[in-house]
């Protein structure tokens, strides 16, 4: 969707709504982590629905939303990071190769956190599976891991924004990015 100011829609509406809904659900989940009651569980269910839809969208969705667009060979992510630290990375309109793997890691850690939340004591399936407290440990571990990944993710967004002199947070709100001839 080319417009007069040379920007195109990279992130379609669902990708943007998914992203910020996940952020909101994640904050709610942390804020209610010590409560055994509904809001924390609701946030968990919502996260699972969000990710379910995102997985479907990753197969049938728009160009930059597809896994095939941003899940690349790990060596490409490493090459990208080398170029980044050398200060001359290529600019990708969609996710860069390292960012793509970050999306995969974030999705997996959040899926792990939400599913183990169901299995742990107090979870809806907690009484029906073996393991008990172990699931609670994994649940908390996965939540901690996702927080760590988010810190790295946001750092990557800041670094990329600085290197390419663009506001990637605004792009995730408007969906639009400026297209340049040297883009990948």
């Amino acid at each position: 969707m080319q417009s007069s100011d040379n920007t195109i829609v990279v992130w379609d509406p669902f990708v943007r709504v998914f992203h910020w809904s996940l952020v909101a659900a994640y904050i709610v989940a942390w804020a209610t982590a010590e409560e055994r009651l509904s809001l924390h569980e609701s946030a968990g269910y919502f996260v699972m629905i969000l990710i379910g839809l995102r997985l479907v969208w990753g197969v049938i969705g728009t160009r930059y939303a597809r896994f095939s667009d941003f899940v690349t060979r790990p060596t490409r992510a490493i090459d990208y990071l080398k170029a980044l630290f050398a200060g001359r990375p290529r600019r990708y309109l969609g996710h860069n190769p390292a960012g793509g793997w970050m999306i995969v890691a974030l999705l997996l850690s959040v899926v792990l956190a939400s599913v183990t939340g169901l299995l742990m004591p107090g979870g809806v399936a907690g009484g029906f599976v073996a393991g008990g407290e172990v699931w609670e440990e994994v649940h908390e571990g996965a939540a901690g891991l996702s927080l760590l990944l988010i810190v790295v993710h946001v750092s990557g967004v800041i670094v990329s924004s600085l290197v390419h002199r663009e506001n990637l947070v605004r792009a995730m709100l408007s969906g639009r990015k400026t297209q340049e001839e040297t883009d990948v």
Binding site: M1, V17, S21, L37, S38, S42, F46, I60, G122
Partner: protein
């Protein structure tokens, strides 16, 4: 898939997100069900209260029939309120501290 179709489908997915948010956050309690049992269940899981069954074995309840059992929050103190039909045919209430399962003397029915 054309760009137009992609955007339409994307908005459809946005609608699905909105619907599930409403369903999950507002529709959490099935119609007709109260959240009382959730509250009791959560207190039980958290180990805040003793099981009701533990009270029913108490000697002072021998011979009485339980008509109604409630878990009440009396100014932050969790109390089991039992309505009993005594051997004398009278209905009366008994209160137990839900944390300990011991009779609670300081709670009186209004």
């Amino acid at each position: 898939m054309s760009e137009k179709t992609g955007m339409r489908l994307s908005w459809l997915f946005v609608t699905l997100v909105s619907l599930s948010a409403v369903l999950v956050f507002l529709g959490g309690v099935p119609a007709g069900a109260s959240d009382d049992h959730d509250r009791v269940r959560d207190h039980r899981r958290g180990g805040d209260i003793v099981p009701l069954a533990q009270l029913l074995n108490r000697n002072e309840l021998a011979g009485s029939r339980i008509i109604e059992a409630e878990l009440e929050d009396e100014h932050g103190k969790l109390v089991y309120e039992l309505e009993l039909l005594g051997e004398d045919g009278r209905v009366y209430k008994r209160y137990f501290d839900a944390r300990t399962g011991e009779p609670s003397a300081d709670v009186r029915d209004d």
